[in-house]
Amino acid sequence: MIEVKHLVKSYGDKHAVADISFKANDGEILGFLGPNGAGKSTTMNILTGYLSSTSGEAYINGHDILEDPIAAKKEIGYLPEFPPLYLDMTVKEYLYFVYELRGCRLPRNTHLKEICELVKIDNVYDRRIGNLSKGYRQRVGLAQALVGNPNVLILDEPTVGLDPKQIIEIRTLIKKLGKNHTVILSSHILSEVQAVCDRIVVINQGKIVADDTADNLSRELTADHKLIARIDGPKDEVIKVVQTIPGVVSVVADLQRERGVWEYNIEAVEGTDIRRELNRRLMARNWYILGLRSSELSLEDIFLKLTMGESVTEFLAGKADDLAENYEEAENK
């Protein structure tokens, strides 16, 4: 468990981290989301004892990182932004070193073997780290964080520099680890935290701007009454039919996606769910819905909104205007 209370880190007048408080429970994967320079790495460096906070407290499984650093550090596996690797050592020598450095008491060979299999570096075990590719180095860095089976894993942008296949592997691995570890991972890639994390802390300019579950964060801004439907049928007639559905405010045909298939933006009165009725009416005319989704804001939108500091309604209104303009343009074409 990690508990952070009113953490502040200032460099002169500048607050790299300004009064951050949050809590990560056991078996939870917490995502740290924010643009570059938001204070993610600084916060992580404070949590791991690499930097000291100007004020505030951080507890790792109940150990204060400033008061009782050695006990706290024992609980943490840390993968910094740049994996701290000795390039002139082989993977084996390096992991042996980390094993001793952390004063690990698990049976060495089996423990390290397990880790290597987990992060898939057993095939490069005897190679020099300096000769490994970026992806492998990242994984050796991750392996290093797992040595000693610490309860808390702090991973700073763990998938940066990896190819898509490796990214998926690492994400799966982190999810697996999240079941019996407390994991904090940082990222500026929204889909990543969305895919991996149970909870998301959005941080900008050293401040927390949101702290909620991934689902809640998007639900907050979801619009069930706004649908994007891909319908196979004659455009003008479809619009007419859909408009007659009770509650529908507007229907706009967006683009022709396939031959004879258009995408429509349908807006209904807030709070009404028109999906079933839509289905029924189209079916009756033998037109088909090929795709249907609510036009919820993606985390990208939420993120921008939160970090821009606008209020939700203003933002949504602005967004709706933009969309409307786009549709008009599209229609005119």
């Binding site: 460096n45 050695i70 024992k74 943490i76 910094p80 740049f82 000795y86 980390v98 450095l101």
Partner: protein, 234 residues
């Protein structure tokens, strides 16, 4: 600490630095030995030991330049500083690793003494006193070199800075004689590394000199720990 000690000692031989240091040390001490002892057919080795004082000014910075600067540059200090070990243990691990390499060099001078002993009587106690003196001087210099290395990310700057500091510590005795204010002059001459070291080469084993070098090493190691500590707060 043992993990750091082991890794550092290995690292000296994984990189070329350990070999370069020892080669230079063996070559330098060998030349000094043949010039000051063999050429005169003397078993007195004090010439070599006093000559080594100047060699250390150049050689120790080579030994210590990487110790902390390279960790910072490669960002491996993040591994060490977030590991469950204390800063003093970290610094001591690195210090003793450098001492091990240095001691291998110093041990070579004992080989010369053994060679000489086949041709005449060697004053073993003097040789032993010299070896102890050389080890202590090296310990103090290594601590100075590590302090400089902790202040920069650049090995070259660490080496040159270390060399400059050691020369300054050597020159401090000469400066003392030209300072007109007597009490300042006194302090400077008391702090002179060469004035503290030369009695060893005369065969004088003064305990206060032993204590001087040990204190110097401890002070500079302590300052190194403080530099690492301060970096967390800045």
């Amino acid at each position: 600490m043992s993990a750091i000690l082991k890794r550092e000692t290995r690292a000296y031989f994984d990189s070329l630095i350990g070999y370069i240091f020892l080669t230079a040390f063996f070559a330098g001490s060998g030349i000094l030995f043949s010039v000051s002892s063999l050429q005169y057919g003397s078993t007195d080795m004090s010439g070599m030991y006093s000559g080594l004082f100047f060699m250390l000014l150049v050689l120790i910075p080579i030994l210590t330049m990487r110790t902390l600067s390279e960790e910072k540059r490669q960002k491996t200090d993040q591994l060490l500083l977030t590991a469950p070990i204390s800063l003093p243990a970290l610094v001591m691990g690195k210090f003793f690793a450098a001492m091990i390499i240095y001691s291998i060099g110093v041990a070579m001078t004992l080989v010369y003494a053994i060679v000489v002993s086949f041709f005449g009587a060697v004053s073993w106690l003097t040789v032993l006193g010299n070896v102890v003196g050389l080890l202590l001087l090296g310990a103090a210099y290594i601590a100075v070199g590590m302090l400089i290395s902790s202040l920069t990310e650049n090995q070259v700057i660490a080496a040159i800075g270390g060399f400059a500091c050691m020369v300054a510590l050597y020159l401090i005795g000469s400066i003392a004689s030209i300072i007109p204010v007597q009490w300042i002059s006194r302090i400077f001459s008391e702090l002179s590394f060469s004035a503290r070291y030369s009695p060893f080469t005369y065969g004088v084993f003064d305990f206060s000199n032993v204590l001087f070098f040990i204190s110097a090493a401890v002070i500079f190691l302590f300052l190194t720990v403080r530099v690492l500590e301060r970096r967390r707060w800045s």
